[in-house]
Every structure is written in structure tokens, then in C-alpha cells.
Symmetry: C3
Subunit: 675 residues, 3 copies
């Protein structure tokens, strides 16, 4: 639906699972949901067993009827292929479809996302089902997107995967000599002479559990993570191709999960017509964490708008503690998604189920069965507002960011696989330090991959760039040489793409750009900290303290304690027309704000707006103009002093410069700025 | 022995395992144990391998000799069947007897309670052994009870269990259509077309570990818990029938373990001639916790006295920290059992073993081998006191409670299986809030099942009645309508017996009785709390806060914080002649005392006695009169002001009203009240 | 190399793994390493796969070349046999070589130390490889030691182990009757009639996880620990025999790991020509912990010097937090090893690898590839100092200790296997209380086994002597009777060598020597403590409080709280010419210093020196004189007042009595005392 000509207004709705209810109740549901102003339903997500009761029989009666109702009630359809969970009979007859766990156990039938992506059975029947669906509904007219499978994820370690892993490796490395080199297999006498020597890296071979899964051979585990992600991507592409055969114009997606470690979403990006994702923050995530995930998703297709495919209208069920969304937050977080690039506002789910693990996941129609709930009221008011005030105005709008943060799944995997210097090193946690500081000051930020073109940015931040893949240093070198500003951190530049250390001193190929040499790094236990001076303040230093030497750079702050007192903690290097910064430790939250602001000021990068604390400002632009989203994450009223005149879309009032725009608790305003 | 005509005085003694010792030492043991005034021994609990060295050979020589000694020394026998642990040869030859773990691993021989309850091998040989035993000792004259197996427990997931589970389901649900309905299998495409599609719910299928075992399909896991408990009950009944064939008059039991989650003791109750149980509190359990378990056991057969089958005279061995029972506590806790309905005072064990895991579990005869120990002295003094002062006086006495707390294994299983709203919800922990408050004020309480007739009670409390089984609401409705007072809490009334939500608003079918509608519930993390006003005090609210609407009820307290400030936290509804209370959150300990006292006062329910803090008062009655037990759980002396005149049995002194009765540290007094 | 006539100066160097690097880089490495003054390399530790690409092919080309270089550069070789990690092809073709885990899973190829010690495949090929190596390099001239396999460790539970365990048992116990007796198998009906009834004790049989692995049958698990350790010892001896056939004069070792629980190093001691070990303290270990491990290793061969085979020059890689060794600590800890009996200063490793899990383990040549690092500088300065100042002076020197602490693997295993009285009982932790107090006062201490002759000592401490093996009590009795001072603690004397309790009162056969009877023991939770009086001070009592009766002994301190207030906590018994002390609880750290000093003073035992806090003093003697090592573990400068005149070897200055000897932060001085 994202960028599909038939979608003229912002899609509002979400997952509906009528197969769990008697047919006679369906029309009542449509009736009620239309009152909530929904215009789209995601259908058929977990329907395989009903659609296909055995190898050769297909049964579309119920789905046909639901499709009739969607047409009757004027509801568009995001059509899923149901291959996210296979039927029980399939597992009973073809056990190869069942995954094998990290400790080598063949699973029995159960849960969901339960199929081995490399199972011939799975691929055969998934393909067949998709073909049936695509052929049958090719001409139905109201399918505005296809939703392949559901939340791809997990890892399988079965013998089919093992065999396919060997083929994948052979294709990549050609010879066992090269395999021995890239995995450094002469270490611990692992030298392999035959592709059959390769076994899956799991808890029975190279891996072990110790505050998460760790590995003895980082290179093997890294390649297995890539292979595992690739196998699911093959499944996605297999289904997508079939759909495209029948409905070449309807865009195809699958729903992602934000910063989800097992799947390299950046590698998947080009295969999707548009990115969609499910936003389920933990109860203690702040708005910055959510915003970062939106921006990560937006970055997967170079800034193209994405779809918010799922969010809960109230609570999700699986958290340890299911805290209610406060009144207004359903609306606030919906607009936050739009502010960061979503062209939809969609939910899981339309009607709450009555049995099994998601029965306490909130829906538009909850167990009470009526519209007389806070959740229904908030949802339907939002539906009405979107229908009347937003319409299709924001569709296709883009975010114009001068700052980019690099995020890379290989780096995530590799940095956290590392044995030494510290298990306290966390990839996403480090990235969020930088993101959050910029977010709180309302700087638009793109989250990009190492493949993304850098030239459009003024300032590129690469937190924990542990792995500097071949060629990336040259890309950075050119970027800085031509005037760009680059920043990276401790535990960067160590290895190339196979997790082999680049000798010659850390941070490897980034040394000349940064003008430093990191000789050693001191890992700090949780209970210890160092500190460094910066801008007259004393800043705490935690997790890792690099002991570095200036080789052209200047020190912006030096450690104040221990035997490396006086050594630089933060540096700046003039390189060509640009500058390269290095932050050799984990600092206080407050440091990042001041430090990054100084750099932005120097670069004359402007924030979206200057706001009171807790008000997020974000900008999107399209042919309709520039939209300034103002999101009050505070539980109290506050206000914004208008900087550029415009029409506030939700209230329908024009504001001029300097005017106070009041925002209630969790309130949202959108200024369509006068050009 | 409980209600067996041959038992005229309170049984005192316990487990004796002579098979671990040379025969020539046995008579010395009897000699010493008689000095401790024991009159009963539990024999033959773990003797299978010695009784049956192979498939066809039985060998009773040793047991015969021990039985001779019991007669010679005038000791009654509680005869166990030895089927609690099978021999090693059986496991070697018939591996089907070995259980399969939750993650699908066939166990090897080892530990105890090691047999799959559904193993044909186990049933065949258990039956044969019981037949041999019952036939051989049918006429021995001093067996006063049979003790089937030992502490039934655990769960098996083997293929025999899987097959039998399918049969169990087929019998219960008849068709796969009904199975699909009750388990809501259309969810996540689990629809089953064949009984063979069913697999055991374990860590390889629907379950997973996350702070305990959790499940994706609550209905499946719930039925498996029932099936697992039922399978062991079948084993019990199989053995019981054989025993009854030979000794129809001797009562049959098996030893329970208090609030033990895997076995639905309430369902077992009617199969036992009397309930017996093993009281092994954790070192940090208070007297209320122990008392509650006694009352739970008493409730299994509608208030019929039970047997305290085991307790340690000193320390048990398996706790993380084996804290000594303080001087006097052996006696105090023995009388506490009697006060709550026990007709025995029995121990594990008579003689301490020298090898394997229980070697540091205290016995009457400890490793030192003499009677010159504190434990032996305390035990023998108690034995003498029971023999001389209590005799058979208290046998058969009943507790007359006007207050009942409902406890239900299905609710326990289902409430803690739930995904959402909070993993902090704990069934027993919630029940104990109410029990403890009543206990500390000395109100007699019955712990009853949902099957128990309510009409005899004035006040029925159903904490966390998450599952309201079909018909139970009507039972409550009638009870309240006719003048009863009912109280339930947050997370009640959600589902029916298959864990399917009852639509129409929470608390489901209890809505009209309580006069409320719970629209939402806010789960609170450990570090957060709300509060509500009650009786002029501010009470903390934790774990879950219901957001409820009055539909006839009145609010007794309202939340003071957050967006639901002002909404009712505690309500009271007049319904028919009675009242229905609702406590929509977890409150402070102090709240429960005040709140429940107010209700009791209104209902004119009287406590057993008014005592100083730390003195427990409990009442039992039989034809010999009314016994008021006064138990000083304090480590210091205190006193009780006599309320009703009577003879203090242990001191042999008469007390009149208003007289001070002194109780030393951990002391016990029993007033036989003048009629 | 330890006591090999060709070794005339202290070996300095360590592990070098050229097989991980291109041949053309090797000579550069030698060049640089010679600058660091290394004189020895450990080679061929993990080289099996390269040496033997298949069953019948051996390939020594590379190793030959490396050996040529060692000769060219005058470097001695510690030659490893490479059997610490088998090749991948071997696992693929002969799966019996793969271990089975505690929960019964056959491992796949991976990690290291990956071979089942009882695998016929492993033994066959390990033997063949060793023969090839020994034959080939017998005449090379510069091999000064053989290093069999590497860090033997772990446990296997495969069917080969199970079968061999039965044979091991049959040899030890002859009949199943005796097996039933020693394992007390009549308990829980475990009686075995056939050796085939025995299964390995693991998580599928007798063991379970609960804050570590625990067991239901201590006797079985204890024998399995012995069997497991013995199996690896067989492997060691198998290889050693072959080496000796070719090079009878070159000493043979394998590298131990300090206080490593799975291997009974004391049983291995006599099989090694010299002991060597790898010193990898945790980041929070203090110098006393390290010193104790050195002394434990020295004790394995009755005080014979050992080799420090490995230590990291900077950080090891596997710790949660890899804290840098502070400047000077590399030197300090190297000398600490020498002070405690090491005749080498060796490191892992010479050159840092670039891939897999040890890539962040520091080396002499780090990733930067130059000698311009702090680590290289510190290492080479130390190399120079050893070469010029120490030479071979300290080789063969002995420690003369009057105090011995008994350490016994059987006791470690058995005491921590125990179910009751407290899981807080920790064997090594208890020993360190006594060691540390003595260490801080600079008393030389031997750590000895229960087999060691006691007559040379004045004071023998046996912490937690839970298991008093047959005959050991008589040894202690004679020792004390003839004037020795003996001390033991709570949880001592309970069982004999099969973990069967010795009846008649605790501490069993030690009762008469100690003059006490321990009737009961009160286990204290973490949050509780008692206290006792000692020397006018109040001392906290934790973990376990024995309730003991004096039977000849006198009380040195009595409990002050709880019902056992007034009972003795610490006792002294005159027995024959000597004294026997008993400490019935875990006391404060400060107690041990005062208490032990009093005993030492009474026995006129002198410390190595009286030093300021944080300065460790240790003495070794050989024909060259008496060496007093002074080690400043403080991060600041301090000084030592010379007690005996001598030449300070490192500074080359003579000191007379009373003179102040300054020690900088982490500094070391060695006084060669004038005779």
C-alpha cells in the first residue's frame, strides 16, 4: 500500500482473524470496526491449517466470505500468505519442517514461526499455498498490499540447514583453504580438509551459554547468522515472485520487528517493495528508543516511507508486566510513527481472541464486545481524525536528515560475539547514546547501513564500528576528505568482514582518518568508573577506556584517574576538508548532548524545532508541504513557541511566529508550514 | 489409622528403614524408639529392589522379621507399598518405565519417583508387588493403615504419555472439532484434523522457560496438567483396590505435600480413606504458611481429620540452608498440626541413614546412635506427653469454621500459565494474604474447593478466581442471594474451565454478583505502586490495579494516583440478602487485617480466642469436648487471658475466666473447655 | 625443564603458534622475541590437524622449519604433543571421540579439549601422534621439556565412559554387594544386582542443577569424579611413556590450572616429572588467592619447584571484564610465582592471533605487530632483568614451611556434593580464610595432601575436613600426640572415603583428638549471623554454627546469641604432647589473623619477614643462599625495614639490618641473605 496508486488516504486498521470466530459474528465486527473508521484489514496471517487441511485439499470458502465483507464495507486488504505457521498435520507427516534447537533437539509441533526455512517440505507447500492465494485473489480489486509470512525470525540448526550451510560456504569461499583462512581454523587445530567437516555452530559445537550465547569461533558463528538470515530471505523472495506473477503492481512486504538481531533487515531491504514493521516497545522504553527503531526501519529503503503494520491499542500480552498505554498514548505513538516516516497507522488487532497466549493482547473490539471502552474510543477518535484531518496529506513525505548514524547487523553480531575485552559491550545500547542525544534536541537523523551513500550527509556517526568491512574505510576517508564530519567510538576498526583482526594497530584502517592509535583498552567492571574532563566538566567513563596515542589528532578530553590519567579520551582530527572525532569510552548521557550540539552548531545543522523538554519535533516533506510534528511525551500540558508560520492540521488553526501552541498531556499537533 | 477402630490413641512415630542397616542392629533400635514412646512405624517405603530382585522372585524375609519385631514391641504399622521408586534392573530391562523430561530427554535410572505413571511396565509390576504385600500381611493384625507409593509428583512427557493423552482427550472431547474449540486451535493455525496431531505440550512444543515454565497454548498445558495428575491417581487407585481386596477395613492413604502444584489433591480426596501429608516448611516460612497448608489438607475431605505423616524432628536435608528447629519447636509444630486437624504426630524418620542425599536429615536416632541428644529428648518427652496427657482425646475432633477460602488447582495452573497481564501474579501468594490476616486474628478458616457446598459458611473468599467454571457463578449467586458474604479479587472471572475467556466484560459471570465491570487492568512493575484510601488510611496497591466501573456496587476505596485516580479499588455490592466484595489490587498486609475484621464483625463471626501477638489459637471439637489450642510461636514467654473456663490438659490445671495462663517460649497449652 | 641439567638459567618465554601465520613472517617474530630476551618457546600445542591431515598421513614440514628457527635463534623448546584438540576429520569419521554432555547429548565437532578421554579412537591416534613426534624430535637437542596435551579438563558421560566406569568399579569393589554397601544403595531402593545396573551419574540420572550441579547419591557422583580424573591421567601416562621411550632424560609435564575442581592434581603429581600450571586469576582475585594456587601447585610434588607455564602479559580474553594488568604487575606477578616456587617465567602467548576466541588475549607481539607497546616493553625489561640479575640463581630453591594446610580433592568434591546442612559451604573459600590470614603475616605455608607426611610440620590446618579417610585420623593422632598442633573446622570428620557417615558422633574419628562432640549444626542464611567472644572481641559467626560439647577440650570462645549462647564456638584440646584446635563456625577475616598468630607465636614459628601492609614476603633457599622476595602489591610506594643483611639482587645494592628498602608501586626486591 505504501506508494500504491490506489491508496489515497492514510491506511488505518490492522489484523483481523475471523477464522477464530463463528461466521455469524463477522458482520457485527465489520459494523463496529467501521465505526472506528478503519479502512484496511490485514487478513489471513495464521490461516494455513484451515486453508489446507491436507496435502492436496484447499478450502477458501471462509476467506472468500471475509473478502466479500471487506468489499461490502469498503475496506482495503493487506493480504497475508499464512506461511508464518504451518499446520499440525504437516509436522506429523514431514518432520523435516520442524526446527532443531541450539542444543540439537528436534522440536515437536507447537508455537509459531515453527518451520525450518530450509525444509524442502516447507518451501514446497509454502510456494503452493501462495500460488493458490495469489491466483484466487488476483482480481479481487481491494488488495492493496501483500504480507508474506509473518515476523520472520529465529534460528534453525537441523541437518538440512547444516548441509545447506556447507553449500552456502562453498559458494562464498570456493576452497577449504580459503575457509581455513577466513575462519582462522589453524587456531585450536580446527583445520578442515573437506566441506563435510563443517558442522553448524551451536551449543553442541562452538557455542556456549554465558549471559547469552557466546562462541569460540566468531567467524563461524558470524557466517551462520548470515546464512540463517539469508535462508529466510530466500523464502520471502520465493513467495514474492509468485505474488508478482499474478499481481505485479501490488506492493509486497513482510513485517519486521525493529532492531531484531537474528535478521539482517538491511540486506532484505531491496527485496521488499516497502518496509513494514511491528512496534511493540517494552514498558520501560522511552520515546527515543521507539523513534530510533522507526528511523532504522525508514533507513532500510533509503528513506522511503514505511508502514507501521502492527502496534497494540492497549497492552501486548507477552511482557513480564503489561502496563496500560496511558490515555492519549495510542494517538501519540501513532503520530510518532507517521512523524518518522510511516504512511500507515495499523494495529494488532481488530478483535481480541478468547484462547491461547494472545488472549490478553488488547484489540479494538475487546472481550467486552462493545465499543464502550476507552481503547475503542481512543482508536475510533484517532480513526476519525486521520480520516478527516490527515486524509492522504502526509503520504510519501520524506525526512531530510543531515546526520546519519550507521547501524550494521554484521557489526552487531560480531561485536557481541567477541571474547574480550568486555561482555558489557552492547551494540544497540551504544548507538542509542548518540541517537538519544540528537533526538532530544530534535535533530533529524537517518539510520543508515554501511552500504548507504554518505555524500548527502554532513555528519556521520558510527558507534562501535568494530568491523570495518573492506572498502568502508575508503568511503569514510573520501567522505571526510571532502568535508564530512565523522565520529566513531571505542571498539572500532578492529576486524574486517570475516572478523579477522586488521594488524598494524587499532582502529585498523581508520587510524589515519582519526589520527590516533589505540594501544590498549581497559575494561571496567560494573562497579568501577574512570572520568575525563570535557568542556570544563567532569564526565564519567564506563565499560571500556581506550588508552590511545595521538597521531595527528588533538585531545578534547583526557582521563583523570588511574595509570592512564592524562591520556586522551576524546579526540578530533582534521583530515582533508573534514574532521574525524573519536570517543574512546562510554560517557554520561549529558556528555553526548553537549558534545554533539557543539559539532552540529559548527556544521550549522539545525534541529526540526526548539522545544520544551519532552516535546519531540520531527519534520516530513512532500508536494503538499512541510509537516512539523509536535509530540508531547509529557504527562502534563506544555507549549511550543511557533518558529515558522503554518496551519495546525488537527486543530485547524493558523499559527504565526512566536505564538504559543499549547499541547495537553500526550497531545499531538501538526503544523503544515507555509512555503 | 485415621478413624480406624483399632487406633485408640494418637499415633506417634514415623518412617523406619531397617533395610539400610544390619539385622542385628534392629532390636536395639526398637528398644531405643520405645523409650521415645513411639507407637507406630511407617515401613517399606523404599524397599522394592530388595523385595523383588527380578521379574519373578519376591523375597519377604527381612520384612517378615521387621514385622515380627513390631508385634514384639507393640508397635502399629503404616505399611507402604514401596512403589515410589522402582528397582534398577527394571529400568535396565524396560526403559519405558523411565520418564521423559520437559525437553524430551529419556531419563536414565536414578533419583526416586522415577517411574512414568503411564508405563505399562510400572503398572504391571506395581500391581503385582502390592498384591504380594497385601496378601502376605493381610492377617498380621497390627497394620493400621496402608501408605500407597510415596509423595506422588513430577511430570512425564514420554511417548506412552503422549498416546494416552490423546485417548484421555478423545474421551473428554469426543471430536477434534470440539478439541479445536476448547483449545482455540484456529489461533496460530493450530487446527487439528486427527487426534494424532496432538503432541505433549513441553519445551519442544508449546512451552518455554522464562522465570518458570510458560506456554503458548494455555488450554493444552492445562489439560496436560490434569492428565498428568489423573494418571498418578489411576496408579493410586489401582494399588488401593488390591489392598482393599485383602484388607477392606484398613484405611488407605498416600502422603501429600501441602500446596504442591503438579497434583490436584482435591480431585484425589475422595479416593483416599484419609488424607496424610508431609510438612516440610522452608526455613523462612512463618506459622501462618504452615497452618494454611494444614487447613488445605483438612479441606480435601471436607474437614475430616488428616494424618501428619512426616515432619522432621530437626532439619531436613535438601534446603539451601538447614536451620535447626529451635528447642520446643518440634513439640509446638506437632501440636499445631493437631490443632488444625491432624490425628497423628509422625516423623521422617526414626533412624538417620548414613549414605546418599538424606543422610543429614535428622531422625530420632541420629548418627551418634544414642538417646542422648536434644532431638531425642524433645521427641521422647513429646511422646510421653501425648501418651499420658492427650491419649486419644482429640481423635476425630472437627474444626467449625464460618469462613472459607477457595483454593483450586485448575485456577492455580491457569492463572500462572497466563500470558499477561503480569507474571507477578502468584496464586498461592495471593491466597495467603487473606489467610494470614484471618490466621493472625485466630479466625477458624476452611480451605475448600470449588466443589464444596457453601451453605455452611457465612463468608467465602475466593482469591484470584481467574477461572470461574461453569456453574460456579450460580453457586456463588445462590450463596450470596441467601445471605452469604462473598469476596473475590483482581484477575477473577476471566475464563471458563477450558481457559476460554467469557465475553461480555470482566469479571465475566461474576459481574452481576459483584456489581462491577472491570474494563482494564494496569500491571505494575516491581518498582512501582499506586495507592488507595481505605478507612482513612492510605493503602499501597501493587502488582495489578483494576480499572473498574460500578454497576450497582459502592466503592469502599478509590485510587489516589495516575490517570485512574478516583476509580474504585475496593467495592461492596448488596446482592440479595448478602454482600459481595471485590478487592481490585494487591494491598498492604495491614489492610487485609482491618478489612476482614470489619466484615467478620459485621457478620458476628468470632475468633477462636483473643490472644497476644504470636499466640495462635485454634479450636477442635468432638464428643470429648471443645479443645482450645494455644500455641506460642514467640521465642519469649507471654500469656493468655482465659475467656472460657476449662482444664488445661498438658499442665493438668483448671482455669477460670480472666485467669492468666502463662506460655513459655514456643510453649503449648490445650484448654478442654467446660461444656 | 624444571631440574633438567641443560637448563641453566630461568626459562623466559612461552607459547608460540606459528601455524596460524604465513611462514615468511616467522623469522621476524623470532627477531623481535629475542629482543624481549626470551629463551624458551612452547610449541605445537594445537597443531594436530596440520600434523595429521588424515588417518595415515603425517606432515612435519612446518614444525621442522620452526624447530630449525629455534636452534638458529638459540631458543629452547617446550614441546607439546598437540593432543589437546583433535582434528575435525576425526570427529566426522569416528564420532566416539566426541564427548557426551551432562544431560546426555553427543557433542558435535567444536571448541577444544573436545575428546572423550575413554574414546578408543582418541587413544589410538593420540598415541600414534606422540610416537611420531617423539621419534622425530628425539635428537633435536633443544627440547628441554615435553608438554603432554593441554589443560586436561571437563567431564564426559558417553556410553564408552559408562562401560569403562563399570569396569573401574568392578576392579575397585569386586562385588555388587560391596557396591551396594559403599554407595548405600538400599536407600531409595537402588540396590543393584548386576554391574550393568550402573549408569553414569548425570542430569538424566542422579544429578540435578541447583546453583551448580548437585546429586542424590553422593557416593556415585564422587566415584565418577574420581573415574573421570583417572581416565585423563591414563591418557597422560600413555603419552608420557612413549615420550620417555625416546627421550628418557627430558622431563615431562602437562599444564595444570590451579584449584581446578574436575581433576585431582594430587593424584596426578607423581606421574609428572615436574608440575606446571597456567595462572589466570580473575580480575578481582587478590594476591593471596594467587599465592595460594602457587603453593597448591608446589605441594603436588612435595615442594619441588614447578613451572609457571602460562600467564597473560596483559589481559586474557575470556573474562567478563578484561581489566588491564597495571604497569609493573606483569613483573610483580612473575616474581610472585618465582617467590612461591616457580623455576620459570612463561607466558601465553608470544604472538597474538587474529581470529577466533583468543584474538584479544594479549601477547608479547600484539596486533600492532611492533615492540612499541607497553606490554612488550614491560615483558622485555623483565626478560633482560631475569637474564642479567637472576640468571639461574633461584633454580631449584625450596620453601621451608612449618605450617601446612591440607587440601584434598575428594573432600572438595564430597563436601560440596552434600545435601545439607548448607549449600553455602564452599571448600576452597574456607581454606582461603586460613591461608590468607597466614599469607598476610608472611608465614610460609605448604598446601599438602592427606597423603603427605606430617612430621616435618609444626602446625597442620585442615579446613572442612568433611571426609576423614581411613587411617588419616591415626596419622593426625600420631602427629598431635608427638607434639604437633592440629586445627580443623566445622563440617569435619563426618564421613569416610565412600562418603558414608562414621557413626558415634561428629567429628567421627577425630573426636578424641579434638576432645569434643558436635551434636548439631545450625545453618545460617546469608542474612543471619551469630557471634562469639574471642580474646575480648566479638567475632561474627556465619554459614554454620556447630553446637558442640566439650569432652576434654577447653572452650576458647562461646556463642553469644540464640539458644546455643554459651556453647563453645572455638576449642583447644591438649592431646599427648600436642594441641588440637577446632573452629566450629566461619568467623570474621580479622579473627583468623589474631587466632593463628597466637598459635604461631606459641609454636615460635617465624614469618618470612615483618612487612608493611600490602608487601608480601616469601623465602626460597638453595645452595646459592636464601632469597627473600619482597613484593609490593600496593599501587603506591612503601618500604621495608631490613631484618637480615643481604644483597638486593635486582638493584645490586647491599642492605644491612634496620636499613629502609624502598619499593615503588608494584615493585619487587629480592634480598640474597648473607649466610
Amino acid at each position: 500500500m505504501v506508494e500504491y496508486e490506489k491508496v489515497k488516504q492514510i491506511p488505518f486498521g490492522g489484523d483481523y482473524n475471523p477464522e477464530q470466530w463463528p461466521e455469524e459474528t463477522w458482520e457485527d465486527d465489520f459494523h463496529l470496526l467501521k465505526k472506528a473508521h478503519i479502512n484496511i484489514m490485514t487478513l489471513n496471517v495464521f490461516n494455513w491449517a484451515l486453508l489446507q487441511p491436507d496435502e492436496t485439499t484447499y478450502c477458501f470458502d471462509k476467506l472468500d466470505k471475509v473478502m466479500e465483507l471487506t468489499k461490502k464495507y469498503g475496506v482495503n486488504v493487506c493480504m497475508a500468505t499464512s506461511t508464518g505457521a504451518h499446520p499440525a498435520w504437516m509436522a506429523r507427516k514431514y518432520p523435516d519442517i520442524l526446527r532443531v534447537t541450539a542444543d540439537g533437539k528436534r522440536r515437536k509441533y507447537g508455537r509459531r514461526h515453527n518451520a525450518c526455512q530450509n525444509s524442502p517440505t516447507y518451501r514446497k507447500y509454502a510456494k503452493a499455498l501462495t500460488e493458490q492465494l495469489a491466483a484466487r485473489y488476483a482480481d479481487c480489486g481491494n488488495i492493496v498490499a501483500w504480507h508474506i509470512s509473518n515476523e520472520y525470525g529465529g534460528v534453525c540448526y537441523c541437518e538440512n540447514c547444516e548441509k545447506k550451510f556447507r553449500i552456502w560456504l562453498q559458494k562464498k569461499y570456493k576452497t577449504t583453504e580459503e575457509l581455513n583462512r577466513v575462519w582462522n581454523l589453524n587456531f585450536w587445530s580446527h583445520t578442515m580438509y573437506d566441506w563435510e567437516d563443517v558442522v553448524v555452530p551451536n551449543l553442541l559445537s562452538e557455542e556456549f551459554e554465558d549471559d547469552g550465547i557466546r562462541t569460540m569461533f566468531q567467524g563461524i558463528s558470524l557466517d551462520y547468522a548470515r546464512f540463517n538470515s539469508d535462508g529466510m530471505l530466500e523464502c520471502f523472495n520465493m513467495e514474492k515472485e509468485i505474488v508478482k506473477k499474478y499481481m505485479p503492481d501490488v506492493p509486497v512486504t513482510t513485517n519486521f520487528m525493529g532492531a531484531y538481531k537474528p535478521i539482517d533487515y538491511q540486506k532484505w531491504g531491496e527485496s521488499l517493495d516497502f518496509v513494514s514493521w511491528d512496534n511493540y516497545p517494552n514498558y520501560d522504553d522511552g520515546p527515543a528508543e521507539i523513534a530510533m527503531r522507526h528511523d532504522l526501519m525508514r533507513g532500510l529503503k533509503n528513506g522511503k516511507p514505511f508502514a507501521l503494520m502492527e502496534q497494540t491499542p492497549g497492552v501486548s500480552n507477552w511482557q513480564e508486566v503489561c502496563k496500560l498505554k496511558r490515555p492519549g498514548v495510542l494517538r501519540l505513538w501513532s503520530y510518532q510513527a507517521v512523524a518518522h516516516g510511516s504512511d500507515t497507522v495499523m494495529f494488532f488487532q481488530m478483535k481480541q481472541n478468547i484462547g491461547a497466549c494472545e488472549k490478553f493482547h488488547t484489540a479494538f473490539i475487546n472481550h467486552v464486545g462493545t465499543g464502550e471502552t476507552r481503547v475503542f474510543r481512543e482508536a475510533s477518535e484517532l480513526g476519525a481524525e486521520l480520516e478527516k484531518k490527515i486524509k492522504g496529506l502526509t503520504l510519501g513525505a520524506r525526512t531530510d536528515a543531515k546526520i546519519a548514524i550507521i547501524f550494521d547487523w554484521d557489526n552487531w553480531w560480531a561485536a557481541e560475539n567477541s571474547a574480550g575485552p568486555s561482555r558489557r559491550i552492547r551494540y544497540v545500547e551504544e548507538a542509542i547514546q548518540y541517537y538519544k542525544a540528537l533526538y532530544e534536541m530534535n535533530y533529524p537523523v537517518d539510520i543508515i547501513s554501511v552500504e548507504t551513500e554518505l555524500s548527502g550527509y554532513q555528519f556521520v556517526i558510527a558507534p562501535l564500528l568494530y568491523m570495518c568491512k573492506t572498502g568502508f574505510d575508503e568511503k569514510v576517508r573520501n567522505f571526510v576528505r571532502e568535508g564530512g564530519t565523522f565520529l566513531t567510538t571505542y571498539f572500532s576498526g578492529y576486524v574486517e568482514e570475516h572478523d579477522l583482526v586488521v594488524c598494524g594497530g587499532y582502529p585498523g584502517k581508520l587510524k589515519d582518518i582519526l589520527g590516533i592509535w589505540v594501544e590498549e583498552s581497559d575494561a571496567l567492571p560494573k562497579e568501577e568508573e574512570n572520568c575525563f574532563s570535557y568542556g570544563g566538566n567532569k564526565v564519567l567513563a564506563r565499560i571500556l577506556c581506550d588508552l590511545l596515542h595521538l597521531q595527528g589528532a588533538e585531545a578534547l578530553g583526557v582521563y583523570e584517574k588511574d595509570f592512564y590519567a592524562g591520556m586522551p579520551a576524546v579526540t578530533k582530527n582534521k583530515f582533508g576538508q573534514g574532521n574525524a572525532y573519536y570517543v574512546g569510552t562510554r560517557a554520561d548521557e549529558s556528555f553526548y548532548r553537549g558534545f554533539l550540539k557543539e559539532i552540529c552548531d559548527e556544521l550549522r545543522i539545525k534541529p526540526a524545532a526548539c522545544t520544551n523538554p519532552g516535546i519531540e519535533a520531527a519534520v516530513r516533506k512532500n508536494a503538499n508541504g512541510t509537516f512539523l510534528f509536535l509530540l508531547n511525551h509529557n504527562s502534563y500540558e506544555t507549549s511550543y513557541t511557533v518558529e515558522r508560520p503554518g496551519l495546525e492540521l488537527l486543530g485547524g488553526k493558523n499559527y504565526s511566529v512566536g505564538e504559543e501552541l499549547k499541547l495537553g498531556a500526550y497531545d499531538v499537533r501538526i503544523l503544515l508550514e507555509a512555503e
